[in-house]
Amino acid sequence: MLATLVPLQAVVFSLVALGAPLVVLTRDPLRQALVNGIYGVTLVLLFVVLQAPDPALSMLVVSGIAYPLVILAAVARVRGERRSKETSDD
């Protein structure tokens, strides 16, 4: 049965399957951004083993550049403001 699914592919599929709940269960957005980056890398690997270099490249720039930048900026903003509010409350 394994003939159709190369072991390497099976491993990468399993990594992706493990990554998704980790992303969802990481409730702290900053940490989640990091976990999501790793999940993105597993998706890139998956695309590579599925012979899809173009989607892999797009996924790489998205999970390596686009998502981190906007997510980190949003997280920083939300946290920074909360901190400045807390200090002004004191």
Partner: protein, 114 residues
């Protein structure tokens, strides 16, 4: 075993949905949405995969060599861009919600109901 890839795609969809429905933070929720969407790329690429197929790029490769489906790859490219656009919008809304109410908890920004 040869159905594992499809099961993974279904799993991603359900896990993402569960995350979206129970999220307490709009930024977290936006990322969960991308997990749900990753289900559709994984499914598309899985569906178009051909045993022993090469990437559909014929530079230095003889035409007619077995290659995987290029269509699903084109669709995936579009899908990835869609997800970036949607995430950016939801994050912008999250920042607005935070500016106006001091929270990014979707349960607590419910201003109107009924």
């Amino acid at each position: 075993m040869s159905y594992l890839p499809y099961a993974v795609a279904a799993w991603l969809c359900l896990v993402g949905l569960a995350g979206v429905a129970t999220s307490k933070n709009l930024i977290h929720l936006a990322i969960c949405l991308t997990v749900t969407q990753s289900s559709s790329y994984v499914l598309l690429l899985t569906v178009g995969y051909v045993k022993h197929g090469k990437a559909p790029i014929f530079k230095g490769v003889k035409l007619g060599t077995t290659a995987v489906d290029p269509v699903v790859q084109a669709l995936t490219l579009t899908d990835v861009v869609v997800s970036v656009a949607v995430v950016a919008l939801i994050l912008a809304l999250a920042l607005d919600a935070h500016r106006l109410s001091g929270t990014v908890d979707p349960d607590r920004i419910a201003d109107v109901s009924g």
